[in-house]
């Protein structure tokens, strides 16, 4: 039986075997966790904002006083609507992936005892609900009467639309329609639910809360001015946005255009997730380098063993072992060592995951990553050992008869 023979031989090379197994174990732990992190990052970048990103752009101006707001809004709306190709212009406080305004803690009772979470408020003017292209799944869209003037940082008593994710979080298993929540003395009542609605950025609870948003129909005024949602045909949007930016000095000579914040929503999204993509790319690079180094280590050690055992191989060949036997010997040996490493690596992988869970908001490593990691490492081991094993299989039986 080759198996017993291999195990007996490995016992003679305990140190080297343990080293390679350790290396595989570490590689397994890093591979599983890094793979999981990459998957998490990429999943994050695929978040559904719920709005027609390709058709939307935002234009932001600053440097005006609250008393000028009404006049500014009127001039901007009229001026921007006159641009050819512009389908709609509305006043908003922000857009998905834009600047994070309107984060507020809400409670499920008027007394403020039952905390619901920190949500993102979209304080958006008439026309914006239709312009955003949100998909209603229950209840109704806001009508003209629902738009209320601002009180402190939101209308005093609003009829709002929430995302399905937020509804499930605040009222699990119950219909959210007609439900109420409060923020200080401000009161909100749910009239509709949309399939998806991402807030400008994830809140305190981390990436899981990125869809905790509330659409609050608000009349533009003192504290709601200066940020405009533009909608145009996707192909026409870059030109429309450019024209809009160029028109600002003519429409409102006193304000300052925020070039950096005035972008297409798809650009904002790209920028928002850029660091996640860079990080994912970097981790792919590290995994590649790591697998490369591990493979080189296997090649190095296997070559050494082949060289060391030339004579024994010769003897085995002389007493009847075929080339296939020798090849398989090294392949099985590698399979066993990598197997030890993987067994140890699974424990390490979960240990590393536990550490990462304390440092980052990260869920537990799903078991699915372990067989994948094991398969990758086994395949890598077999690939790395192939060349040295073939060299071993080519050792002629005559070597047995040579003394040195």
């Amino acid at each position: 039986m080759q198996f017993r023979l291999i195990l007996a031989a490995l016992r003679k090379h305990r140190l080297a075997t343990v080293l390679i197994a350790m290396e595989i174990a570490l590689a397994c732990a890093v591979l599983c966790n890094a793979g999981f992190l990459i998957a998490q990052r990429l999943e994050l970048t695929r978040v559904n904002s719920g709005v027609d990103e390709a058709s939307l752009a935002v234009l932001q101006v600053g440097g005006f006083d609250p008393v000028q707001s009404g006049d500014l809004n009127a001039r901007m709306l009229a001026g921007l609507r006159a641009i050819p190709g512009m389908q709609s212009v509305s006043v908003v406080n922000t857009v998905p992936f834009g600047i994070a305004y309107g984060n507020t803690g809400v409670t499920l009772d008027a007394a403020g005892k039952h905390f619901g979470g920190v949500v993102g408020l979209y304080l958006d003017g008439p026309g914006s609900f239709e312009a955003l292209g949100l998909t209603l799944v229950a209840g109704r869209a806001p009508t003209a009467e629902d738009f209320q003037p601002m009180d402190s940082f939101a209308p005093k008593d609003s009829q709002v639309v929430v995302s399905r994710t937020l509804a499930d979080h605040l009222w699990p298993g119950a219909s959210p329609l007609g439900k109420e929540f409060w923020s200080g003395s401000l009161h909100f009542r749910v009239i509709g639910v949309v399939a998806h609605m991402a807030r400008p950025g994830a809140g305190e609870g981390g990436s899981g809360t990125i869809e905790w948003s509330v659409f609050v129909p608000t009349l533009p005024g003192d504290s709601l001015a200066g940020t405009y949602l533009l909608r145009a045909d996707p192909g026409d949007l870059p030109r429309v946005l450019r024209d809009a930016k160029a028109a600002v000095p003519k429409i409102a000579p006193d304000v300052v255009l925020d070039h950096d914040a005035s972008r297409r929503v798809s650009d904002l999204r790209e920028r928002y997730f850029r660091s996640d993509r860079v990080m994912a790319g970097m981790m792919v690079g590290v995994i590649a380098a790591l697998l490369g180094v591990t493979a080189l280590g296997i090649v190095g050690l296997a070559s050494f063993w082949v060289a060391q055992r030339r004579k024994q191989i010769g003897i085995r060949r002389a007493i009847g072992a075929t080339r296939g036997d020798i090849l398989r010997y090294f392949q099985i040996e590698n399979f066993l060592i990598v197997g030890f490493g993987i067994a140890l690596g699974m424990v390490l992988a979960f240990g590393l995951n536990l550490i990462l869970m304390t440092q980052y908001e990260l869920p537990r490593l799903p078991f699915g990553y372990l067989p994948i990691g094991a398969a990758v490492l086994w395949a890598l081991g077999q690939l790395a050992v192939l060349a040295p094993a073939l060299r071993a299989a080519n050792v002629p039986p005559v070597v047995a008869t040579r003394s040195v």
Binding site: L15, A16, L19, I20, M22, E23, L26, A27, A29, V30, A34, L37, G62, G63, D65, P66, M150, D151, S152, F153, G184, S185, L186, A202, E204, G206, S207, G221, D222, S223, P249, V256, D258, R271, R274, S275, V278, M279, M282, M283, V286, A289, L290, V293, T294, L296, G297, V299, G300, L301, S303, F304, A307, Q308, L352, L356, Q359, Y360, E361, V404
Partner: protein, 457 residues
């Protein structure tokens, strides 16, 4: 007692042996080039990856005010009107508390800091108006934080009290508006008011911009924005309140407030930070007592509800509390060191293979009288040599790695450079790692029994 001559001889002898070992090591490394290259590569890649992340970590977790930070403190109290024994102070102060503490002048130096985005025009320069990030602060700010001036100086305590229309501008803004000339004495229009430039800063890049740090623990590790540029305009707090009351930024509010109608000074909002300089431990203790006393007094007046939770962290403690080193950077460091561990394992295995392959040769040397220690030392020299060469590779790779970091879309990208200390750390780490990797194989090699090996030959 050994004579000086004997000591000298033994030193020379050691020297000769070291040279001999290096020679042996070079021969041995040349004999099996593939294996040598493999080992050097493994160490270089491991060192390159860890040094890149270590440099970035070092850069981001460093002291923004070397030599001064130990004396800078961040007093906090809790202006919450709701009694709650578990309540922690918020990250910033309300106007009343901040003003009271600041005007008491109980510290060696003290500065209030608030943020605003202001519309700015330079009447003498033909450029469209800009929106500039600005800092509303008080006169001690510049002296306390050692802010370097190119021209002019900060304003006086009298300017604070008199809400003087003066400003200090950054090097960046000075270049943008005035082409980098001395612009002291020129006029800027902030919002609708004229202010006179009294000082122009030299390029100043504290990392992180510590006076912008607040709320870091709520940001899920996404703290790269703390490493951006400093504000462009610095002006007295009172002047900022006069010039642009609606442009001051607030951190959060604990009650209802209408920004359109009520000034921030009377709002239930947190928008100021107080920084104090305390030059001795006694003064620190004294200030803690003062802070606690103030909170107790305010509680007895009924303005605040929680007095027992005042807090005063040092600058570095405050940065730690806010976890300013971005989560991604810490993750990269974790990854890099796991990677280095793998490279280490790899090198141990390869060195073991290399040394034991020469068992015959070692047997001969042992039989001819080389001690175990000599064999051990020789093997370590070989490992150290690999480490040194690997270190050069690692240095080149970390330069490449930092170049990659500089191309990342993050605020601290332009800071990522290898300084002298990190350069030497690279080599120290490389040699240390290779010696560590070499110890076990060298020990095994030194245990080779001379007789057995000679028999085989």
């Amino acid at each position: 007692m050994p004579s000086i001559a004997a000591m000298g001889r033994s030193y020379r002898w050691g020297d000769v042996m070291f040279g001999y070992y290096v020679d042996l090591a070079l021969r041995s490394l040349k004999r099996n080039k593939a294996l040598t290259v493999l080992m050097v590569l493994a160490i270089a890649v491991g060192i390159g990856a860890s040094m890149t992340t270590l440099t970035v970590m070092n850069l981001l977790s460093g002291d923004p005010l070397p030599g001064r930070s130990a004396h800078i403190y961040y007093p906090q109290l809790d202006p919450s009107p709701d009694a709650n024994p578990k309540h922690q102070p918020w990250d910033m102060l309300d106007y009343r508390s901040a003003m009271d503490l600041w005007s008491a002048r109980r510290a060696d130096r003290q500065a209030l800091v608030a943020h605003a985005t202001l519309k700015l025009r330079a009447p003498s320069v033909n450029q469209p108006p800009l929106l500039v990030p600005s800092l509303a602060t008080t006169s001690d700010f510049f002296g306390m934080f050692g802010v370097p001036f190119a021209w002019g100086r900060g304003w006086s305590a009298g300017d604070d009290a008199g809400h003087a229309r003066v400003a200090v501008i950054s090097d960046d803004l000075n270049r943008k508006l005035f082409g980098g000339e001395n612009s002291v004495g020129r006029t800027l229009m902030l919002k609708d008011s004229d202010v006179r430039i009294v000082g122009v800063l030299k390029p100043w890049r504290p990392s992180p911009v510590f006076f912008d740090v607040a709320g870091g623990r709520f940001s899920n590790g996404d703290t790269a924005s703390f490493y951006g540029k400093t504000e462009d305009v610095f002006l007295p707090l009172g002047s900022a309140q006069d010039i642009a009351p609606s442009d001051l930024q607030w951190f959060t509010c604990w009650g209802d407030w209408d920004p359109g109608r009520q000034s921030l000074a009377n709002a239930p909002c947190l928008w100021l930070t107080l920084w104090v300089e305390l030059d001795s431990a006694a003064k620190v203790a004294g200030y803690r007592d003062f802070l606690a006393g103030y909170a107790a007094q305010q509680k007895s007046l009924g303005r605040i509800a929680n007095a027992g939770n005042t807090r005063m962290m040092s600058l570095m403690e405050w940065l730690d509390f806010n976890r300013v080193v971005p989560g991604d950077v810490r993750l990269q460091a974790w990854l890099a060191f796991a990677f280095l561990a793998i490279c280490l394992c790899n090198t141990v295995g390869l060195l073991l293979a290399k040394f034991l392959r020469r068992s015959g040769e070692i047997g001969v040397r042992r039989a001819l009288g080389a001690t175990r220690r000599a064999v051990f030392a020789q093997c370590l020299v070989e490992a150290g040599l690999i480490g040194l060469v690997g270190g050069v590779g690692g240095w080149l790779l970390s330069l490449f790695g930092l170049w990659l970091v500089r191309r990342q879309p993050v605020q601290y990208a332009d800071l990522a450079h290898l300084d002298a200390s990190m350069f030497f750390t690279t080599f120290a780490l490389a040699v240390a790692v290779s010696l560590l990797a070499g110890a076990l194989p060298a020990l095994r090699a030194s245990r080779v029994a001379p007789g057995l090996q000679l028999k085989v030959l």
